[in-house]
């Protein structure tokens, strides 16, 4: 008995320790970036254009670029993902076909992002001739976050109790009426939450945009979806590894990292707030 208790205590302590370590690492990264990035953060930095290949000035084009890419990606991936999820949960019959689709989606989720970059280069940039552009980059990112959106949308749909579907059908509603009026409204918050998490990921990835849109140095704002843009993660990469004065631009790197981090935190925070607000409203 005694021994068992000791072992248990030991194990719990170990698990707790590991958890603390994880939290500590995340905390360290965030604090480090905040401390080193905060001095650089200024209105000029956020709203200004870069000068001397990014060694001076601001990062507005990169911020705008990332927002464009994320907006583009989400406006393609959201309708596609939601529609697929509706089809898969509500219409597709259980069986081989559905299994294969499920397998394809989880495979897609596991594909390294650089492969998405190559895929985007081959398909959108070259084959469709969109060139290196916001369009190509957004589409590439859209496909990268598609699995996340499909899976979280499926979960949100499945969370709506069958009894609500039955209740609606029993009143003479068609299947589509039932989905539109008595399933989707309750699943939407969950769907959006998953999507916003996807946005966070799209905002931070470098590899998929490397080959499809990102400009090394382009100190102006895009005028159409066929323009190239700078993007925060790529700008950071360039400053850190490609810049002739990498040491000197260290503050700029941290400033960029901080802006990117804040952007992603903002997205995730809004996802959580949205989810909590709707959770309170809907209950069954």
């Amino acid at each position: 008995m005694r021994n068992k208790k000791v072992t248990e205590y030991f194990l719990i302590s170990l698990i707790r320790l590991v958890t603390y370590i994880v939290v500590a690492i995340v905390g360290y990264i965030i604090i480090d970036i905040f401390i080193k990035g905060l001095p650089t953060l200024s209105w000029e930095f956020i709203s200004g254009f870069p000068r001397r290949s990014g060694a001076e000035g601001g990062i507005l084009p990169a911020i705008v670029g990332t927002i464009c890419l994320v907006t583009g990606a989400i406006s393609v991936a959201l309708p596609l993902g939601m529609t697929s999820a509706i089809y898969l949960t509500e219409y597709a019959k259980q069986g081989r076909f559905k299994e294969i689709i499920g397998l394809a989606i989880s495979t897609l989720a596991g594909v390294p992002s650089i492969v998405f970059g190559l895929f985007g280069l081959g398909l959108f940039v070259l084959f469709f001739g969109f060139g290196a552009s916001i369009l190509s980059g957004s589409l590439t990112l859209a496909f990268m976050i598609l699995p996340t959106i499909i899976v979280s949308s499926e979960e949100a749909l499945r969370a709506v109790p069958v009894t609500l579907r039955e209740g609606s059908l029993a009143l003479g509603a068609s299947k589509w009426q039932t989905i539109a009026r008595n399933v989707l409204p309750y699943a939407l918050p969950g769907m959006f939450t998953g999507s916003i998490l996807g946005i966070g990921r799209a905002a931070g990835e470098t590899a998929p945009i490397l080959l499809t849109v990102a400009a090394f140095y382009l100190p102006k704002l895009p005028r159409s979806i066929f323009d190239q843009v700078m993007a925060l993660p790529y700008h950071l990469y360039v400053l850190a590894t490609q810049h002739p004065e990498a040491e000197k631009v260290l503050p700029m790197q941290y400033g960029t990292a901080l802006v990117l981090l804040l952007l992603v935190i903002l997205f995730n925070l809004s996802a959580i707030i949205l989810r909590n607000r709707f959770r309170k409203k809907i209950q069954w």
Partner: protein, 254 residues
Amino acid sequence: MVRTNVKMEMRAVNFYYGNTQALFDVSIAIPEKRVTALIGPSGCGKSTFLRMFNRMNDIIDGTNHTGEVMIDGESIYQNNNSSAELRKKVGMVFQKSNPFPKSIFENVAYGPKIHGIKERTQLQEIVENSLKAAALWEEVKDRLNKNATNLSGGQQQRLCIARALAVEPDILLMDEPASALDPKSTTRIENLISELQKNYTIVIVTHNMQQAARVSNYTAFFYEGHLVEFDKTNKIFTTPIKQQTEDYITGRFG
């Protein structure tokens, strides 16, 4: 036996969930504007039987049946697109009350809206009448815009009845509508059923023998997917023909 019109009918129906058969050669003729109770041990096929009449079994993958199911003398499984029309005529109340997470008003107005009624005053009238018919109006008339999921269990179940009545069905299928309720709410539902019987053909599943005896005119006893006996309720409860029926109602098994 007083002659009444046959409202719902089954002829030699077999029903299968995939490879498991749940109904065996069931034939029955259910009279109009009467309450018919379905009794029998758990898993004997009462819900399956009930759900044949509004084609709710169709929504389960891999089910199929043989034989004929008729309402008003018409076979209901012939046209594949008519299940929505059918369900407008055949309302259903589920065992576990399932109010939609919407306002009380929207719950009752859901069916009429689906069937194309848009005008607000007309909807208000339907909602009021349905809630009155379900004996819920007095309790909720001041809070029609409140979420229905905040109602008590008994109120929720009456709301579901009101919701079913709002589409003006001929038939009301009730699958153990009072099984999750306290005695007081149960009594209210039972009184309501007696009241509704004037205008509707009601088929009700119940595990409660006294309830079956109290509310129904006819009783069907099911056992392992077979319809063992179907007759007037007082006949079933006083002089059943089959030994199995007698054993069940006297509590010797099930």
